[in-house]
Symmetry: C2
Subunit: 267 residues, 2 copies
Amino acid sequence: MDNRSGIGVFDSGVGGLTVAAEIMDQLPKEKIIYFGDTARVPYGGKSKETVTRYTEQIIRFLLSKDVKALVVACNTMSALALDTVEKGLSIPIIGVIKPGAKTAVNTTRNGKIGVIATESTINSGLYPGYIKELDSTVEVVGKACPLLCPLVEEGMIEDPVTDEMVRRYLAVLKEKEIDTLILGCTHYPLLKNTIGRIIGDKVNLVNPAYETANGLKELLLSKGLLNDDNEVKEHEFYVSDSAKKFSAFASTILHKKNIRAKTVNIE
Amino acid sequence: MDNRSGIGVFDSGVGGLTVAAEIMDQLPKEKIIYFGDTARVPYGGKSKETVTRYTEQIIRFLLSKDVKALVVACNTMSALALDTVEKGLSIPIIGVIKPGAKTAVNTTRNGKIGVIATESTINSGLYPGYIKELDSTVEVVGKACPLLCPLVEEGMIEDPVTDEMVRRYLAVLKEKEIDTLILGCTHYPLLKNTIGRIIGDKVNLVNPAYETANGLKELLLSKGLLNDDNEVKEHEFYVSDSAKKFSAFASTILHKKNIRAKTVNIE
């Protein structure tokens, strides 16, 4: 392992590609080794025990691929498993929740922050926990949005049904007059336009993907692990279910042709 | 193993409970051993390879529990894995697709049958395959309805959003003037009222759960495996994720208090 080793980026499925895209953008010299657990997706309604076991299996796989750092590009895994899996790891690991919480605290003016995420992420209480650690006076309102992932995966990005569901989910956050909203699931940035239109333009949307890539940059810099050679990097993509379906989705999100993912069994 | 051994009934999650309920109704002397793969649910968009591997693991688990027959209470597993897993099994196994196909062929008058199911079930082509084997003159129109499972799991049984999605999915089937509609996913009978209202009362709805329980009865009878003792049976429930959430759902569907599922790891 050296500076030219890859960055392991992983998610329960395709959502983490929005984080991978930010990393490619901010750290174009780094090679990414992505894993999406498409055979067992979604994680958003599952228990801490199950999500932790799956996360451990994914990390074991990525460690076999010569990586110098790990990015948990999934809010549910960051909320339920990161504290357990980071123990005993010999390389740095970063999740999406701390960076998102930090940005939200720096952004809010009225001290009212909303969080939308999966059921498991909301129930974990981790976003309010981190936010309160940073500023105990901030009020946090969380709302689980279990149907938004399936709607995004169906490609219903601009659709009256999606509008209606977003309106229902956001109603309680509008009532509380939040001025900052964390998009606490990697699928939600794809609904940014709809969410922004419905919550109104006085509310700042925080996309943890951007801040996570930024946090990764600082982390690599502080550890002397930034890659500075100018070779063109061949990113690698692995999934646990069909590679074909994933490759097509990844090509769209990453605006790259010919992404060829490989199927692996990590159980 | 003898006549008093249990019936292994399994699904990717909670949907198969609608089949278990039919079996309890039609075969009240049989003991059911249910497994729901709640850690890896849903299967409906996943590949044949993955679904087959998971089905093999579930069967291995159920065979350790002294069962005399197996019921694949899931359309996706019946469509993608049954032909592979039934090879080499020493006990009888029955899926939900053949019984549903048979009833539909016996029901249709105009020879136009619709099938709604998950993406993987529709793509497998198994419903049209079986139907054409029974009557090659019948026309079959399939439609994948990927959002109906998440909507049912959210409890949105009577909801304008569910109405709208059902309307969109059924539009092509109405156009084709089908007179028989197979509810090809174990979640859909819970939407029977909505589907019936939207497709209209001239279309017969076929719920494979009823026919599967009936088929199981015939199968046990023909093999001399029917249980005839009158002891009260304690059904058993196993899941791969949190038992608490499942137990609550099962109690509702089965109208039984105090269902206590156990979590097991079958990987």
